[in-house]
Subunit: 345 residues, 2 copies
Amino acid sequence: MEMNCPVPFTDSDRILLGHGSGGRLTHRLIEHIFYPAFRNPLLEQGHDGSVFAVEKGLLAISTDSFVVDPVFFPGGNIGDLAVNGTVNDLACCGARPLYLTAGFIIEEGLPLSDLQKIVNSMKEAADNAGVYIVTGDTKVVERGKCDKIFINTSGIGIVAENINISPKNAREGDVIICSGPIGIHGITVLSTRESLGFETSLTSDTAALNGMITKLYTTVNEIHVLRDPTRGGLSSALNEIAQAAKVDIELNEASILIPDTVRAASEILGLDPLYIANEGVVIVILPEKYADKALEIMHRFDEGKDAAVIGRISSTGNGLVKMKTAYGGHRVISMLNSDQLPRIC
Amino acid sequence: MEMNCPVPFTDSDRILLGHGSGGRLTHRLIEHIFYPAFRNPLLEQGHDGSVFAVEKGLLAISTDSFVVDPVFFPGGNIGDLAVNGTVNDLACCGARPLYLTAGFIIEEGLPLSDLQKIVNSMKEAADNAGVYIVTGDTKVVERGKCDKIFINTSGIGIVAENINISPKNAREGDVIICSGPIGIHGITVLSTRESLGFETSLTSDTAALNGMITKLYTTVNEIHVLRDPTRGGLSSALNEIAQAAKVDIELNEASILIPDTVRAASEILGLDPLYIANEGVVIVILPEKYADKALEIMHRFDEGKDAAVIGRISSTGNGLVKMKTAYGGHRVISMLNSDQLPRIC
């Protein structure tokens, strides 16, 4: 009975519950959508998993689920977001990302053409980041039991020798570099939600940062912390680091790049850009004497061309993040305390 | 503002959108539910991932998302199911499972007490299987945008030297061992769904099989294929293997253990037990001369005490699975062709 799911898929074909049954329709999805896009020798082993060789050393493993609403937004979709997100998490562990897994939870009725677009974006993002998607899983739930599609990516990467990057390593005298302007991904996604009734010219900053990050930690002698400030924004990431390392942080508001459109949209929405998710930004914390070298390297990359020192670890302390404002005063920047931004990633 | 989420949680506390924001509420969930349950040195690195040491060799990686409905069922819940599922997938790659990741997608409004129960079951299952949960992620979606909770587990394990297990390895002359009775998990879950209006005394067979499987492949000289017949049941798993290895399979109906309650419930529901999901069953395919040794080992384990030879690889061929029926005839067993059983795992 091939009629449920002709090949090639047409725009009217939609995900059926049977596509998650583990039976014939699941296999058709694998054969006609997943394998053609992701094809690689590891994926084709036919196991419920993938077997690969490693050398003695350190590995990093990371996982992230993506539930962004809407699924498609200017500059990307849930597919490349899911690949870049886990690639960046691995890179921020000091790892060279190698292999990703992909777990799909799909709502009955999703157009197969949407799934195809998402899978194509995942493939392209994986190619750009130099990683393979080596195993996966597909579940389908009834209409109304999820929202179009959720994707989990997990991944592993190799941590090079002599790399010791950890949020606990931040220490007095370190400076904080931010790779670029903040708030762009979150405002892009919010602006796309129909109900908000405004549009901007922004496109998401979603990008794989592993190229730039690898260059950094293989060139600069000493990097203490790497972190991509996604959910919860710059502020939550810095609070996490300050608490993990038991240090206080002082930011300089004038050095933090906030695009005018992000600032304007944030004002309309009553949001603070410091709390808005970024998907193509990395924070680098390192001894001040290496800052110039790090900036010089980052400026060579498109995603780091606006990198700047935005603050410093002011002292050992209690995990306080303070900001010197444009008016010369100070304010405490706490961790995100609300649910202002659900489903940005 | 601690009032949203007092500690210790009480039964009236529920998941809020803010628990997925990456900010303060997310951290409270991590500190008060996830860390206390899963605590281990790798989890506590504070990265968006986990770094660990490996020796030179082969690793297996696997991923699975769980969307079972209902979340709690006799014999288990989505938590232990998610841990056991990935543990078993790794074991069926010939790997000793080591580390799991846990990705939660939670519906706003889920009682925190339910999350606590699920997390406790994951911890217990992880302990039983001898694995650690080393990193995780939590997303929250609005009410009505998922169904209570979905969990992704991904995992890695070490493949011992000289292990070469693959669905492609099945060959003429091999026998097929099934570790126990089939259909139990699927019928248990179906029987729990309120709308079906019947109950059975069954409890899910969800179990970690890695202990028995490791003993098998470290003791028996040659094992060609291992596979846990979950979604799609025994039939779909065997069809996959037959197609991957380009062999024909002949099953002997009289040797396949189907509990009376599974048989009775299947008749009422119009289902074939061969297509019903199992969560504590493994298929072992190996040369006939090693079958007695394998059975002797499996019979020592509770989850293998009813292990029996249920068929053989009859010839190289086109991937056909046939069954000799109790009446002496033959019928072709194809891959699951319908969506008869959504959200069993």
